[in-house]
Amino acid sequence: MDTNQDELTLLRKVRDDVAEPSRAALNAGRAALLDAAAPAVAKPVKPRRGLKRAGWTTLGVVAAGGLATALVLGNVIGLAGWRGGADPAAADSLARAAAAAITTSDPVVGPGQYLEVSTRAVYASTGESGTYLAHQDGQMYIPADHNDEWVWVRDPETVAKTFGPASEKQAAEDAPAAGPGEVVRAAKGAFYNGGPMDWGFDGLPRDPHQLLNYIYRARAGQDVSPDTAAVRFIADTLRTGVVPADLRASLYGALAGVPGVSISDRAATLDGRTGVAFGRDEGNGLRQEIIIDPATGLMIGERELVLRDGVLPGVPVGDSMGWTAVTTTVVDSAPDGGTLCGTGMLPVGPVGGGQCAGAGK
């Protein structure tokens, strides 16, 4: 069994045992339909042949999807390079950030110490009343010896920002169900009875051009365009907070190779830290940005900005629909407590099988 079972496989199993419609319900639905069909016999509707749905099989989409499928054959030859890259100012700035990343050494975690990866995350939460922004912060304590016990402190979910009465109402409605926070503890980082934590960094090429081709291939067919998919891949990888310096520099190099990437804000502030924001405007009203401290080459965080009214109802232009800020420090100890599956859940099935179930029932 794949111990890193992916989230879609899991979702497909949620409520997969719902009851089939009863014979009575099926018959009632059929009867209602035939009832509606009966009087319509007298006036058959006119067909509208060849009604084309405009807009969504545009050449752009076809070209992008086709390119992603056809050209990403390897890491050496691929989408990277021949279509240009980031705009010159962004490329220049990213090259300097990469140089700084290489010279800034990774934090050294001594025996018995931990690398504390602190994540502040904000995301848009939408319900029937409105949209608000919610916080979920966490600190992961990674031991010097990865075989030892890791600790993940997940703070309670809180409201970060509301946008008027409807938004406040939604936040209040959601409050009782907000995640209460929990401490998870697992050897090898196998949280929630999963497999050992492995970010897969070893398999990523360090040459920026090859890395970018790898990314295009990995994300082929996903997201609104290959280039935005690549920016997101880079943002998602960086925000783990544990990317080694050499790979971080390569990721900046890869970002410099993505057409359309530009400096969107020279002084972007995220969680109290200021850096340069690099982003790509896809034309869909949202912009994914990666914010880097140019002095150290460290990634401050990432955010997705709303550029157009109505993209996320209730969230004004210029606000973000989500952001993550990451800091890492070396600490001498990790908090006590915590269990493999978190509060109220116990591991079941094989060790590392990714299975936890509600406890105390």
Binding site: N4, E7, L8, T9, L10, L11, R12, K13, V14, R15, D17, V18, P21, A25, L26, A28, L33, L34, A37, V41, P44, V45, R48, G50, R53, G55, W56, V61, G65, G66, T69, A121, Y123, A124, S125, T126, E128, T131, E173, A177, G179, F191, Y192, W199, G200, A220, G221, Q222, V224, A229, F233, T240, N284, L286, M345, V348, G354, Q355, C356, G358
Partner: protein
């Protein structure tokens, strides 16, 4: 066997023929509605086909498969049941729902399939409950409606690229909940297989 579009075309002159479409797809619409909101699924199933019948003239005959169209109607009807759906997700988050109980029971009995469903169901439900409705629609049509990207795009009447973007954002939110949020992992474990490739070619 007739394609869906052939049945719909026939129903323009012979309205009762539309019942064939019902016999073919009523169960999947019911199943989808039932997974999202529970009890009112019978009504959603019935209403979906009544609305579809009334709008059959607008059905694009070039499309063989009527499922995305039917899911589109069902999705619109489901919007009236947002409160009910939110309650269902909250139930899962709180761990008090029947599903959780079933999963626990099966865990005791050793049914592997249901065991899988017990894995952090609460974490998944948390992420799904709080994501924007349109991302949730795209995600659930893809995961539960078993549509490909193109099908989801038809069902939501948005470009395929937009579907990709919404699914990407939704999946990212789900991943973050599990702590396994490095994209390189997916590549390594080959999670992006058949369906994505097919969808890319279809785009």
């Amino acid at each position: 066997m007739s394609t869906d579009s052939e049945i719909i075309r026939r129903s323009r002159d012979t309205p009762a023929a539309f019942a064939e479409l019902y016999d073919r797809h009523a169960a999947i619409i019911h199943r989808y509605a039932s997974r999202r909101i529970g009890e009112a699924a019978d009504d959603i199933m019935s209403e979906t086909f009544l609305v579809a019948f009334e709008r059959r003239a607008a059905f694009d005959e070039n499309v063989m498969d009527a499922r995305p169209w039917l899911y589109a109607i069902a999705t619109t009807l489901l919007k009236k049941h947002r409160r009910q759906e939110a309650r269902a997700w909250r139930g899962l988050v709180a761990g008090g729902a029947a599903e959780q109980a079933d999963a626990d029971q099966d865990a005791v009995n050793g049914h592997d399939d249901r065991l899988d469903a017990a894995i952090g169901i609460r974490r998944l439900a948390t992420a799904i409950r709080r994501m924007p409705a349109r991302d949730r629609d795209a995600l659930l049509l893809y995961a539960w409606g078993d549509l490909d990207y193109e099908g989801v795009a038809r069902a939501l009447d948005v470009p395929v690229g937009t579907v990709r973007s919404r699914l990407n954002r939704a999946r990212r939110q789900l991943r973050q909940e599990s702590g396994r949020n490095a994209p390189a992992q997916e590549v390594e474990h080959g999670h992006e297989s058949g369906r994505t490739d097919t969808a890319a070619q279809g785009a």
